[in-house]
Point group: C2
Chain length 329, copies 2
């Protein structure tokens, strides 16, 4: 018997990616089409179909070779119902029955999952968490997202709000406001957006002391990357921002180590381009902050699958569905 193949579909605000993935988590091929959510959700659903069809062609396989499809989308959502409810990054979509649509089009068992949960399952299956039994993943980008995997369980939560790791509160006295409107969320401290904001504030107070000031004057803005680069080059103001960022992320990691207590905490997303200097600092703060046993034993790592984690993880969701249907797990 040939090994089953899976399709993973990763719906983002800008692009829809689809990939054909084998039973070991290795992609045979993947493709990407623009999402263009402003064209409406009917067009969006057709675009998903097209992306899957193109991925099959790119991989040189037929639909009958596919054992299951997994679809990952941003929220808000009802995961068990397979519906995107009111997604901030896919406006004006509302109440889109994604899973049923894909299932109807392709007549293949179809799983549905939150994109950060799917990315976590992807890393767990075929990336940084390959050898772990449990894993907490933080995605660091515009916001801070997350996924929690325990055994073969994706912690979806009872109301599809599991692993909203950016929205644990870590500050009460002097809380920063988060993009979500709340105060003191981890995201308001540890996201790329927060890095830029904190650096910009620090510049306003210390203009003469940082090369970031030049970036700001020349380009009118700075990026998180500028901050991490300047820190590597020895810029003191940038260095302080990076140090604080590492501390905030270590607080997030520790809070998960004292509640979930996973084998591994993984950081993913655009911000890990900051590289080893950031990771080393996070690790140092975790060792200082956490209880001795988890501090010593929990692996703190970067993700390995980059932008492919989403569709690989979506395929992993499809694979779990297939294995459950065939009683293999």
């Amino acid at each position: 018997m040939t090994k089953p193949l899976f399709v993973g579909l990763d719906v983002g605000g800008t692009n829809i990616k689809a990939g054909v993935v084998n039973d070991s988590g290795k992609p045979l091929a993947h493709v990407s089409l623009p999402t263009e959510p402003h064209l409406g959700q009917e067009v969006g659903l057709e675009r998903m179909d097209d992306t899957i069809r193109e991925a099959l062609v790119a991989a040189g396989v037929k639909l009958r070779d596919i054992a299951a499809i997994g679809v990952a989308t941003p929220g808000t959502m009802d995961i068990p119902a397979g519906i995107i409810l009111d997604p901030p990054n896919l406006k004006p979509w509302r109440n889109v029955p994604v899973r049923d649509h894909i299932h109807k089009t392709f007549k293949v068992p179809t799983a549905f999952q939150n994109d950060a949960n799917a990315a976590a399952l992807g890393e767990f299956w075929a990336g940084a968490g390959k050898d772990a039994h449990s894993m907490v993943l933080f995605t660091l980008g515009t916001g801070v997202g997350g996924g929690i995997i325990i055994g073969d369980l994706v912690l979806e939560g009872e109301h599809s709000h599991g692993a909203e790791l950016g929205h644990m509160k870590i500050e009460m006295t002097n809380p920063r406001q988060c993009g979500c409107g709340r105060w003191g969320c981890l995201e308001a401290y540890g996201s790329a957006t927060a890095v830029v904001k904190r650096a910009t504030e620090a510049l306003a107070q210390n203009a003469a002391k940082s090369r970031l000031q030049t970036h700001l004057e020349v380009r009118g803005r700075i990026t998180a990357r500028d901050v991490f680069d300047a820190a590597k080059e020895g810029d003191q103001l940038a260095d302080k921002i990076v140090e604080e960022t590492a501390y905030y992320l270590a607080v997030g990691a520790m809070n998960m180590m004292h509640t979930i207590d996973p084998d591994m905490v993984v950081f993913a997303g655009g911000m890990i381009a900051a590289g080893k200097p950031l990771l080393d600092r996070i690790r140092r703060f975790v060792k200082e902050l956490a209880f001795p046993v988890p501090a010593k034993k929990t692996k703190i790592c970067y993700a390995q699958l980059g932008g492919d984690a989403g569709f690989i993880g979506a395929a992993a969701c499809g694979r779990q569905l297939f294995l459950r249907k065939t009683k293999k797990i």
Copy 2:
């Protein structure tokens, strides 16, 4: 066939409790003996045996009627190994192989669990969480402990540090020191000890304004109960302490709602004697703090089993072991 019976053993710093529990989580009888940890761990292990034997007698059942035994102890511990490592409340015990000892004595399948995890499973099985699919429980006493149940899974963690809910960090700028030596832990804000400490500090600044000052002068100390009672009687200083306590506990609840996203958050332990006024305030703050869907749907409740949760939960751990061995789950 008669329904199986289970023994639950709850080892505390002061007393060892054992109960015989039926397959619905109802205790037939329970007994209690002093722990006297200072007499050493050999005496302690014999005391555990004696407590179990007395419970069997009190329930009028024979050892052959018992399908499994569950033992719950405070930490630190290695749960899979069944060993208490270096328990602060059971000094001078060290590396005590509790599970193997009980198993050797009674020759009955024996489960081992952290006491807060067991209490959570007890409430989940036969108390506040009876109808829930998942539950996070906070125990409010000298410290803040916790247990997380998802489906039939007790979230032990990979290093036996799961659900150490008192040690999530909720404050960075101006953190209080926790009993564990760390800074900004929930326990340093929401435990009974923290209530007393914060009230005493407030009194030092506002002596004339509170009836708690009289308690302090007459008895040399105040208790958390004094604070909650004074608040009920309209004392403003006490009322402010209770309000803040509710807020801190709501932050803890919200952080779990945004990560675990359970059906239910349950508060247990001595401090819930504070009654409905505290619970109502926690509920109000949770509604203000959390995302709309979990804020609306997550039940926030008090525990129902009181001091019996430990041995009932320990029996539930024994029962899970029995059901797994007999392939019923």
